[in-house]
Amino acid sequence: MNTKLFALLLLLCVVLAFPVAARKGVGIVWNTETEIVKEGTNYCIEYGIYNPWDEDVNALLSVSEEFKPIVNNEESEPRLVEGGTKHDRAVPINLCFDIDNVYQQDCLFGDFFCQQKCDVQPVTHEGKIVVMEETTGSAGMGSSTTLGVSVPLKLKVQCNAHPRDWTLAYLALAILLLILIIIVLLRRRKNKA
């Protein structure tokens, strides 16, 4: 009896001395580090957030300063990622970018009759995509800590070369000629009458 009690106490001591510390963390799944994007378009890239550790975590996806001016729907709300979420069941998050018209066109009048020769250096936006565990306040005294995983992203803006656009001139000419044709037809009808 005493031996059993002793063994039980010993087991209890072992369990108390080595508590199992539940862990939580964040992970990111990415399929690309370089994308070729068209100027003047909206472009989205999908990332995955996962948490293969024990506890649920609120994770936050953000972008580095370089991308701030062109990101239009950064997922700023934290996402709950359940503990035990492996990379192949990552929570998908779409990150969308507004790509400006970055290449100067050669136009004859204002924004009309333009051509694009694409004889300039390609424009590239480089930065980071960061996933972080949501911070839950400071430690009280000393330093609180944050942990993040960041992955690189390069957006190469594609230049679309095109010859001078005379569409507006043709349209104006067609309208003018149509008016003249109508005038001539009306005059002929009047003369016949």
Binding site: N51, H87, A139
Partner: protein, 195 residues
């Protein structure tokens, strides 16, 4: 009458040509094409990395109460676990990752709510991809904190830990108070930079 007919004919021809020009201008991109048909091959290679702070690192880095100044190399309370002399500050790379990790660290101002500040050069740290009494290096380490990321351990393997120790120097002139800040640790796929 014949003259009028000729004018009308010229106008109709010119109108037709302008419509043709308009049509070509609008639809040019879609009517150009290659005579060779091609098919594309595609493969998507995914990368994935997950990190986790140790329980003690999650709880923050604490230097306790310092009552005698000046002091140098004050250990953070978790620098040496009493039972095995390992640090209890570490970051783990999940086995569910497929890239080794480079680590970086930065901090914001270490100050009191009243504005007194301990310079980040006095807040030093060391890290290492092993954890024992000599690694990460004990004081004096030469790396002071910075508001910009500083690179630490490189190419830490999947499934491993990156351990940290933190130290503080306080000058005699430092005003009393409770000093706080936030230390940011970031992991990047090996070969990439933190900035």
């Amino acid at each position: 009458m014949a003259k009028e007919e000729r004018i009308l004919s010229v106008l109709i021809v010119a109108f037709s040509l302008s419509l043709l020009g308009l049509f070509i201008g609008v639809f040019q991109p879609s009517i150009t094409g290659a005579a060779v048909e091609s098919t594309t091959s595609q493969v998507v290679i995914s990368s994935y990395v997950a990190l986790s702070k140790s329980t003690n690192l999650t709880g923050g880095i604490d230097f306790g109460t310092i009552s005698t100044l000046p002091v140098r190399g004050v250990n953070a309370t978790g620098n040496y676990n009493f039972s095995n002399n390992k640090t209890v500050y570490y970051v783990s790379i999940s086995p569910d990752s497929n890239s080794a990790v480079d680590f970086c660290i930065k901090a914001d101002a270490f100050n009191t709510s009243g504005g007194a500040e301990i310079g980040l050069g006095n807040y030093t740290w060391s890290d290492f991809a092993a954890n024992n009494i000599t690694h990460p290096e004990p004081y004096p380490t030469i790396t002071g904190m910075s508001t910009n990321y500083i690179t630490g351990s490189l190419a830490v393997a999947v499934g491993s830990d990156n351990a940290y120790r933190f130290f503080l120097n306080v000058t005699a002139a430092q005003p009393p108070g409770t000093y706080n800040n936030t230390v940011n640790i970031q992991g990047v796929p090996t070969g990439d930079s933190c900035t």
